[in-house]
């Protein structure tokens, strides 16, 4: 009788997996990140499936921005704008797709666009992903412009990060800045092990107003923004980067540095390299070896993972991840993207749960 039950449960599990073979959308992107008025935008999707992908649909929903009651920035469906299916690919013979479509008409000034890829396989299972972006001249001047948000819950349940061009490097060339940060976002943030899996909890913005990276000075247009959690002042010339509160600086091409500094500012994770940083107790750094060992074990490591990182300004601290993991808080990787280690993963997961429950 017990074996019969096991067989039934096993069959149900097999049924579950076979019937749940939905396609997987690996990435969706658009370029340019913020298109000029009525300028073409290319939408891209990469997806895979255990069974043949038969149809991919790009839906575009076009809104216009306006000032609503109480001066609230609002959006409404644009009369005569694109609303629904913009392009369809009918496919055969492939389990993996890498498609793009140029929406040549683009969008007028003050556009707020919601685009969605729907991928269907031969078993009629569908997966879909949606992104929100702005296009055309922003009606809010130099205030933050949403570039890429996979969340409909922004900004309360997302980490809202605004990129600011350094005036010395990008003054007068904001189009180059937008080109540069496209890679910072797509090849950087969205490839990190703890961001790509939770991309729906991140929203990326920019301002065309310039800041000063060397002094971490924000432009007045966004300094008191009620939306933004973290600011990244982006520069192209290399110099020593720093963080001050919720402002960090990085070269646009040092994607590892960008995520490392963001982790300081958002998750309050500390450096794990020895021995010349400034150390304080946090989720990935402990003043007691016992706490460190407990943290390492809870994350799936061993007590032996703990090592001290010595400092001359604030005592001795213990990090719960071995150097061999080469995690991003140990070595930011500069232009390469390293993973967060297992203890940091645990810290960030806990953060994401709290963010969802706000």
């Amino acid at each position: 009788m017990k074996n019969q039950k096991h067989i039934i449960y096993l069959s149900m599990l097999l049924f579950l997996f076979s019937s749940c073979a939905t396609p997987v959308i690996r990435s969706i992107q658009h370029t340019p990140l913020h298109a000029d008025n009525n300028t073409g935008v290319t939408f891209k999707v990469k997806a895979g499936s255990n069974s043949e992908i038969t149809r991919v649909t790009l839906n575009i929903y076009e809104y216009e921005l306006y000032v609503g009651a109480n001066n609230m920035r609002s959006a409404r469906q644009r009369p005569g704008g694109q609303w629904g299916e913009a392009h369809v690919w009918n496919l055969s013979g492939s389990n993996d797709v890498d498609l793009n479509f140029n929406y040549a008409a683009g969008f007028p000034a003050g556009s707020f666009v919601y685009y969605q890829f729907v991928v269907r396989n031969s078993k009629n299972k569908e997966a879909q992903k949606t992104i929100i972006m702005q296009a055309g001249t922003s009606p809010w001047g130099d205030s933050e412009v949403v570039l890429y948000s996979a969340s409909e819950q922004a900004p309360n349940n997302t980490i809202d990060i605004c990129f600011v061009p350094d005036g010395g490097d990008y003054g007068g060339n904001i189009r180059q800045f937008l080109t540069d940060i496209e890679s910072t976002i797509y090849n950087g943030y969205l490839t990190n092990n703890m961001i790509k899996t939770n991309a729906h909890q991140w929203s990326f913005y920019y301002t065309p107003a310039t800041g000063v990276a060397s002094t971490r000075t924000l432009p007045a247009a966004v300094a008191s923004s009620p939306l933004i959690d973290v600011f990244g002042i982006i520069h192209s010339n290399t110099f020593r980067d720093a963080r001050q509160g919720n402002v960090f600086t990085t070269e646009h091409f040092n994607i590892g540095t960008a995520v490392h500094e963001t982790a300081h500012a958002v998750f309050d994770l500390k450096d794990e390299y020895c021995c010349d940083s400034f150390y304080e107790e946090s989720c990935n750094l402990w003043s007691s070896r016992a706490d460190c060992e407990a943290s390492a074990i809870a994350a799936g490591g061993t007590a032996a993972d703990c090592a001290s990182v010595v400092t001359d300004n604030n005592g001795t601290f213990f990090k719960p991840e071995p150097d061999a993991l080469n995690c991003i808080m140990f070595d930011d990787g500069d232009a390469t993207m390293r993973d967060f280690g297992r203890v940091c993963q645990r810290c960030i997961s806990s953060f994401y749960i709290e963010l969802d429950n706000r």
Partner: protein, 154 residues
């Protein structure tokens, strides 16, 4: 037998819930990026201590208050001392040079620094308190009476 039947129904329901992708048009709110009215507060720190200035109301989101391991904690309370919101942040004067191992790293302090914090808009906010969290800030405890200013806000 009943248990097996129940298990099958449970699994079928689970499959339907998890495997059917959400479909249809977006259900965007009218103000998709500005969901909540907030009070914008400017915090300044210098050698003389801490200051707060209630700047305006706006629409956005209260500052993330998930991690409370920073230098200080700002608590907004009503006139009876009931907490309405709190948020931790670092001393805005302080910056950290992060040059990686072997680089020129460390903690530096400017003469003055400021940052903005968003509080949920609540007419009953009467007191803002800044209290030290990190060991170096253990003596920090400053209170600001803001009831009149909050009542002026629209």
């Amino acid at each position: 037998m009943l248990k097996i039947f129940t298990a099958i129904i449970t699994v079928v329901l689970f499959v339907n819930i998890t495997c059917l992708a959400q479909k249809g048009e977006p259900k965007l709110s009218q103000s998709p990026l500005q969901s909540e009215k907030v009070i914008v507060v400017k915090i300044t720190s210098d050698a003389s201590g801490w200051k707060t200035e209630i700047v305006r109301t706006d629409y956005g989101a209260p500052t993330l208050n998930i991690k409370k391991l920073h230098d200080v904690l700002l608590t907004a309370s009503d006139a009876f001392g009931k907490k309405i919101y709190d948020v931790a942040f670092d001393d805005p004067r302080v910056y950290y040079i992060d040059d990686g191992p072997g680089g020129e790293n460390g903690r530096k302090t400017d003469a003055t620094g400021s940052r903005y914090v968003m509080l949920p808009y609540k007419n009953e906010i009467a007191v803002l308190e800044i209290k030290g969290l990190a060991p170096a800030y253990k003596d920090v405890l400053t209170k600001f009476q803001v009831a009149d200013r909050v009542k002026e806000l629209k």
